[in-house]
Subunit: 289 residues, 3 copies
């Protein structure tokens, strides 16, 4: 119920943002930060992350993304979604540190609820989610990929994927951890989470973080062919199976949702953590400068 309520709030907050147009026979509706190419006849939509420069998961981005996803979820004609980046090179840099630095507790709480919502909506989606990882994908970017039913990564050794929170002086929440453990196994997760490891495509494939690695220019065509394979399965069998696999883990967050928010707010508000983030942000600025 908390889930549903939060969803409604996000929908109201974002309802003024949607625009629609028809391009090339397929419907396309773009908010500022998410471009959706929706082929209703085929039952497939492509959601392109478009939050320059690095597709950070800012609060505004999350709000828009969740509204777009909700629209597709509520339209029975859509059975599959391909998630990808509008700008190859970066899939998503993950959570937006600017939402977690120098703000007040109310803001932190609002932000964290939206991050939880993102995970819950993607992880429990009734649609087939195929992730076309056409760029680097650390932390929250990796989490988005982990929620998908099938992950295809561009074969470019410059791109990495993983949960690197500990390198930034923060900690992945327990539900990032649970999703990661279920994907790569307990020991690999324990090792990688402590060291904050990021993996190039070949290693990510070996560990099961992604399901396939293909040449960069074939990521999208591969996503389409994989989607066709998944769409051949009767929806009710696939959905019941997915729910059987995922419900317990999602329920575990839903049950502890408010405590998890309080946890995040009190952790991120600590002087020591704000200092860690400050140091990290200064380093980023110098790199750019």
């Amino acid at each position: 119920m908390a889930l549903a309520a939060a969803g409604r709030v996000l929908l109201q907050a974002g309802s003024r943002l949607g625009r629609r147009e028809v391009v090339d026979g397929a419907r396309r509706f773009a908010n500022k930060r998410v471009e959706v190419e929706a082929d209703e006849a085929a039952g497939i939509a492509v959601m392109k992350l478009k939050n320059p420069p690095v597709n950070s998961l800012s609060l505004e981005f999350l709000t828009e993304f969740l509204i777009s996803l909700e629209k597709l979820e509520n339209n029975k004609n859509f059975r599959g979604v391909i998630l990808t980046s509008e700008r190859p090179g970066v899939f998503s840099a993950g959570l937006d540190l600017m939402e977690m630095y120098g703000r007040n507790p109310a803001h932190y709480a609002e932000y964290w609820r939206a991050v939880q919502e993102l995970w819950l909506r993607l992880y429990l989606s009734n649609m087939i989610l195929v992730c076309a990882i056409n760029g680097t994908s650390p932390a929250g970017g990796c989490l988005m990929a982990l929620t998908c039913d099938h992950r295809i990564m561009a074969d470019n050794p410059k791109y990495t994927i993983g949960l690197n929170e500990s390198q930034l002086g923060i900690v992945a929440p327990f539900w990032f951890k649970d999703n990661f453990v279920n994907t790569v196994g307990y020991r690999t997760a324990e090792h990688a989470l402590q060291l904050g490891l990021l993996f190039p495509p070949a290693e990510a494939l070996k560990l099961g973080i992604v399901d396939e690695v293909v040449p960069e220019d074939q990521v999208h065509s591969k996503a389409q062919s994989v989607m066709a394979q998944w769409m051949a399965i009767p929806d009710h069998s696939r959905q019941l199976t997915k729910n059987m696999m995922r419900k317990a883990m999602a329920d575990n967050l839903i049950k502890q949702r408010e405590a998890d928010i309080q946890n995040f707010v009190s952790f991120i508000s600590r002087d020591s953590i704000q200092k860690s983030l400050h140091t990290y942000l200064e380093k980023l600025k110098q790199k750019k400068g």
Copy 2:
């Protein structure tokens, strides 16, 4: 207790079916659908599935199989069982769709209880179970193999193994799923169960669905040599270890056994599911015709 009671019912129902003879110095007792070559001196029995044409797990088959297994389990001289097919090419096609199509709820309930019983008896067997997979082994056939302590598959790429329920428009029950997750890991299970994937021997080996792949004519000799390795371990250590690994998962079904039956009956009785099965059965008929 439900387990023990059901076992007794099955034993009574089947007690009129057993025949015994002595062949080549070893005792052989064959029902119509299960042939048992029992070498009491060696402590090993070979159980050959013999339910033409494809070793479907019909209610009659299950009843006879469980009686044969019970006899061996209750004879302290038997420490190991090799499960295999009497007719190479098909290990078992799995659950018998004819038991799940066009019958009444009481029949569905009786059938499902027998399927649960099969899993519980095999999964918790005190004996060493070695599976000699000398043919294709989808769905319930795969489940039988998954309960064994060691699995050897014939190296014939025409043979496949896996839980392909979702391809038929049905869903593997949670205990099939739990047994599969524990064998191949969560992520591989989630992926394979949604798509209903069947794997050829080389892939099944890589994923851990089977432990060894050997040339087709060496499946039985390999099963014998593997059995010898297992029999070198003190029974009490092996049994306590097996119980420590498996008891919780079996208890989870025993606890929910009646609810699981109700669940199955109401699912399989749905018009939409009966229609899916009808379509599938028609397709099978056309293939044969």
Copy 3:
């Protein structure tokens, strides 16, 4: 609380044993059975097991080891510990069968509490634990390695590692099993624990029992370089992550600690088990003789 209390008892029992000296600028404190090379400036200590002939985990050894570990844990300057054997060839032969054979129940209980304490202290250590496995490492020796954050094994095919309890006619306790399952996965654990398998380095690497295999003369330099990599991670992130991964499993033993001791005492006191141990010990004697 039981944990803390037991720790205090062990500390008192052992406080008369410590000696300290300064060698080569680094502090070195050696008990009879554990040699600690403590480089406080670097924040790293090397703990060398030294309980000839095979580094058995005797009660005296455990007491001394836990005191040394406690000293390091309580000194904020130490962030990392490298565990290794003072005598290459044997890392540790594991639990001392002489503590489990021909003694009285009170002794068995005291011994088992110390074994539990070893696992709890290592598994929940706030320090980075790197294991330099420079010799063979069965049973309890393997368990010590499994508690570490990173495991490096010497590439010598004569050395093996694994939980081989069932070969001795005994059974690994549930927390050995849990730690092993989380390291190698459920199915590999079920298989290896029933057969009591010991693995040479290459296979141990493949299964994830160890993280790296290096030439024998590079085990220590590798341990140092791995430690440097781990020390680059902020302690609070690493510790919170480690705790998130491990707390539930350790709590599970803490909760059942007394029952687990009773279990062990009653199991090991059985005539049949004492007879198994007698047979095994006679075999060992004959080998030596």
